[in-house]
């Protein structure tokens, strides 16, 4: 359990790792918007190229990134298949490539399936590389607190949420360690977690969950007292040891993402005008 790492953070030395987490959150959101703006073959090609460029910039090994894509392979295949069979090309002179019984497959359907695949791929890679792979959860919490601060004006408890996130992250390993201890203790008393029907195995978890909850509540109580003793009184008048600072690279990244979105919009407009390949 000592080697337990949070999330998917992959330490490496790249400009993406060094970027301000707030800028990365903005870039990730912008990148998702960009992937939804794509309308034709050329813009999707640009999106695909940019996703791979991001992997290269982040210096994260391709196989690490592919691992996260693997988890989504079922959803990707499902949407692709759905698009292939579902899309009916109603434009003039469009003949189905395959016409067998109730199955009609049009070229447009194939393009759509490919588009959707690229879109999902780009979204997973984009958010992964901007956020989870290159940003520690704690930096992400700081970034969200800072970005959402304007919401505090309309009484959204932004600081409280950020504090909850921090404490949750702090206690995940502690509670995992405790779970292991309780499991060993129950095993020593003859508990069996690995055999029997699903219902039986679920029932065997009760002697773990009950003490775990009891201790979690006790911890919460003690922690609250300790925090009070350390003068915690909410976010008001609080200073921070680590202050987020924008650098030149952050401005550069934001401008670049803005240009990227502009480029995609331009391709869409020209694409419609000149009838480029398969507009969505």
């Amino acid at each position: 359990m000592k080697g337990f790492a949070f999330g998917q953070y992959y330490p490496a030395r790249s400009v993406l790792h060094r970027m301000d987490p707030r800028a990365k959150v903005i870039c990730a959101v912008a990148y998702i918007v960009a992937s939804f703006l794509c309308k034709n073959t050329f813009s999707f090609l640009l999106l695909l190229v940019s996703a791979f460029a991001l992997i290269l910039i982040s210096r994260i090994p391709m196989k690490v990134v592919l691992r996260s894509i693997k988890a989504l392979i079922f959803i990707m295949a499902f949407t692709a298949v759905l698009n292939i069979f579902w899309i009916v090309d109603t434009s003039e002179g469009a003949a189905p490539l395959v016409d067998f019984w109730v199955i009609k497959i049009y070229a447009k359907g194939l393009y759509h399936a490919a588009f959707i695949l690229v879109r999902i791929l780009a979204m997973v890679i984009g958010t992964g590389l901007f956020l989870t792979y290159t940003t520690t959860p704690i930096a992400l919490t700081d970034a969200l607190e800072s970005l959402l601060r304007p919401l505090a004006k309309i009484k959204v408890p932004v600081h409280a949420f950020a504090m909850m996130m921090t404490i949750a992250l702090r206690f995940i390993p502690t509670i995992m360690e405790e779970t292991e201890k309780i499991m060993s203790a129950q095993k020593a008393r003859g508990a069996d977690f690995t055999t029997g029907s699903l219902a039986k195995r679920a029932k065997a978890l009760i002697p773990i969950i009950v003490p775990l909850f009891a201790s979690a509540f006790r911890r919460a109580d003690e922690l609250a007292t300790a925090m009070e003793c350390r003068c915690y009184h909410g976010g008001e008048g609080r200073t921070k040891l680590r202050v987020l600072k924008y650098h030149g690279r952050d401005a550069f990244a934001l401008i670049f993402v803005a240009l990227f979105i502009g480029g995609i919009v331009a391709i869409n407009i020209f694409g419609r005008k000149y009838g480029w390949l398969y507009t969505m």
Binding site: I138, R170, E222, L223, R230, C231, Y232, K240, L241
Partner: protein, 291 residues
Amino acid sequence: MENTPFIHVQNLSYSYVGEDDKPIPVLKNLSLDIREGEYVVILGHNGSGKSTFAKLLNLVVDDYTFAEGTITVDGVEVMSPDLTDEEVLNLRKNVGMVFQNPDNQLVATVVEEDVAFGPENLGIPQSELRARVDEALATVGMTDYAHHEPHRLSGGQKQRVAIAGIIAMKPRCMIFDESTAMLDPVGRREVLETIEKLNREEGITVISITHYMDEAARADRVIVLSDGQLVLDGTPGEVFTHSDTLRAVGLDLPQCTAVSQHLITKNLPVHGEINTPEQCAEAILNAWKRM
């Protein structure tokens, strides 16, 4: 002001609210003074009210229905109903508290950010924060671990980080509520050495609550509580002469003191104050030389 004690407790009684709102008494008519710079150990068996006393000093008790008497810290009456929020914060800043379980008092996922938590709450400007954190980590000897995750540290190290988190608030007094009880012998020694250093070098008033007698032997003054009442109060040497009283309240003498007292009853010429193993060894050696 020279003679005014830093902490002044007068006729303090406290009861928890039990079933049917009946009071369960914990502290009974307790009066004591603690001067600035003292190293006081409060001894007591489980349920003697020692932890409740510590929590009252820091105003972190849930219910004040059955609280009577007065506690004055640095001239401010702590349990006064018209205490402002600012005064409460100032009290907690001046009287820092370290608890038993190191895991349940660390808030942040990085050591140095946890140390900064207290001063951050006090609104210390960022430039000074950095200096305070570095200084506090150096005092407890954890500078090398500034960027570590707390859950990867040993118990003693975690407890030292917790202590650094209090030191960074620059308190005048620190309360240790059984802070060594959950640690292994190495961790205990680390923490005890840190506590002594804080008292001797930084001049911080230390109130250490424990049931380890050998920890009591190292203090300037020992207070023994039993059943919410003050039983004994004096230097370790004075307190340990009352071995019968100590036994009656469920406490044992430190082994070395017990050995020397036993030797005296056997008419061996063991003299002087014997509270630590070193003192004990020296006294026995001297006695042997004289024989």
